[in-house]
Symmetry: C2
Subunit: 336 residues, 2 copies
């Protein structure tokens, strides 16, 4: 089934969305918010699934679904953890900073704790105080979990995935360069992340969801022009099972925890960092990677970071070309 | 006024507590949970304050208040940010790792984003998989904010403090030594933090709350023996105004955000790292600091980290010797 939270109060108004994203029906007769559904998933999920089936059959009242009416599926969440599971991304980000990847770095998932008190809907602008902070996007796949016990195995962890979503993990690169050396993670350099209109249960993904990975291209655009289409199932060094188990090693995770796998990134055919779309590669899902490749090749980055008025779009399509999650499409605007 | 959340479901049952912490009355006729109160504070706070006054006058039904019935005031929160504002603590932690404090480190508050999906009540045990991870406590003062706009000034930020609480920021030192060099902050090394039974509005603190600091000794005990009593108002390089403003530089903060000031720590009279209580100093509010001082003086740490069965107690008393927040008192136990 596919679920969305329409913009309404602090927690949104839960709706069930048709598979083709054209129609929706209120989940209110079952449960009012997505967090409440996740809090008691075994009780509510079967009833929401019934509603989804009735919606497909046209046997419940429904209305036109508009992606721009959506808040994030969880407009505020109790936890947002983000891994960095794509080796090519780690290599390129470290190269951008003039460093190599320490071998120990790849023994387990690299992961940070993000802010989750104000998560952006798919059409909400990215508001930030300055164009000089190196405004960038990062297109990611993330999962929403149920309650996960401490010490869970990677194998068992996958059974706690309730929903899959897309994320724009907005990053301020120049502030990250300042925060990373302190070791304390990202506070100012990772403002509110944005989420796809729709969250889907893993069964909606069919064979594309296997080994804790989503095997489909992540499609990104900047200012309406294609920027990347790397496959989210390729080059992901750790699956979601390993990622969730890593997060739960010393603590339990509460229902509604969102965990991302990091910026989708594919090596090139010869194992290198790959090429931009314009040069026949699969491109990138963040600007920093393309800049780093440009710097390696020509000595200096060509592609600018995002400026006020720029737009970024993130989407994923199934084998038949239909949008699965709806699109994240955001404009960069000055704060206040 | 003083507020607590009794253990009940995922979000607790909000009660108003008498100033002397002996009696409580249900807040339910006004609002059911602390998060709901914070979401609409201007509406609910005056009515909760009326209830507090009626409780003091004995004009509402009340019951005996037991600290061990308490969950964390917010048993799950949308955000937990923790600064490290005490210079002596930063110096000692860096010395423990063999490093000096880079001067740039003190230009602004050091801060990490913590997990807030499962916050522990004051008597809940600290459950962790192994005694070998360097189990430590950190006694801290924290504030709970209302909605804070992006880019707020330090001066204005203080006006957004709704409540003050005590925290045990549980730390697994050996895992932190592994996570810090990666730059991504703490995930496995900072399991669930624990909170004082009671959260208080700043007016309850009288003159002890000034300049964005709480000027009272932080009292800690390990296994029933006094371990430290440094003054939380001394050596705090940044006040809560600066700390909140730092957190809100590139993003707004949602109501119910908890922000800590870090492990309370005082320099000694000559500007050094101070002495343990047993040697006439004010002691420490985490074990790592005492171990570092021992290592500096004798070449090796003497005080062990916490083991299963050990207990830690954190409390703060007013000038008349009355507990303000109630006590955090936790036993260390194996997971599962």
């Amino acid at each position: 089934m596919k679920l969305a939270s329409l913009i309404h109060g602090r927690d949104g108004r839960l709706v069930v969305v048709s598979q083709d994203l054209t129609r929706a029906t209120d989940a209110f007769p079952v449960v009012a918010t997505l967090q409440a559904a996740l809090d008691d998933w075994d009780r509510y999920a079967p009833r929401l699934a019934d509603l989804a089936l009735s919606l497909e059959h046209g046997s419940v009242p429904s209305f036109r679904f508009h992606e721009h009416d959506c808040a994030a599926p969880l407009p505020r969440a109790y936890q947002w953890l983000d891994a960095s599971a794509y080796l090519n991304h780690i290599e390129l980000v470290r190269k951008a900073g003039g460093d190599i990847v320490p071998p120990a770095m790849m023994a387990e998932p690299l992961m940070y704790q993000g802010g989750s008190d104000t998560l952006l809907g798919p059409r909400q602008p990215i508001r930030t105080p300055s164009e000089e902070q190196g405004i960038d996007f990062e297109a990611e796949v993330a999962v929403v979990t149920g309650d996960v016990p401490m010490g869970i195995s990677s194998e068992a962890a996958l059974g706690h995935v309730r929903l899959v979503i897309l994320v724009n993990d907005v990053s301020l690169r120049r502030l990250a360069g300042h925060e990373l050396p302190k070791g304390f993670g990202f506070v100012q350099s990772k403002p509110s992340s944005a989420f796809s209109p729709v969250a889907v249960t893993p069964d909606e993904l069919g064979a594309a969801w296997r080994n804790g990975r989503l095997h489909l291209p992540m499609l990104t655009q900047v200012n309406g022009k294609p920027f990347g289409r790397p496959d989210a199932g390729i080059g992901m060094a750790f699956g979601f099972g390993e990622i969730i188990a890593h997060a739960a090693r010393t603590r339990s995770l509460a229902a509604g925890t969102i965990i991302g796998a990091g910026t989708v990134s594919n090596h090139g055919p010869e194992g290198g960092p790959g090429l931009p779309l314009a040069r026949g590669g699969v491109g990138y899902t963040c600007i920093l990677e393309q800049r780093t490749v440009e710097k390696i090749e020509s000595g200096k980055p060509q592609t600018p970071f995002l400026r006020f008025g720029d737009t970024v779009r993130i989407e994923m399509k199934d084998a038949a070309g239909h949008s699965i999650f709806g699109a994240i499409e955001q404009e960069i605007l000055p704060a206040g």
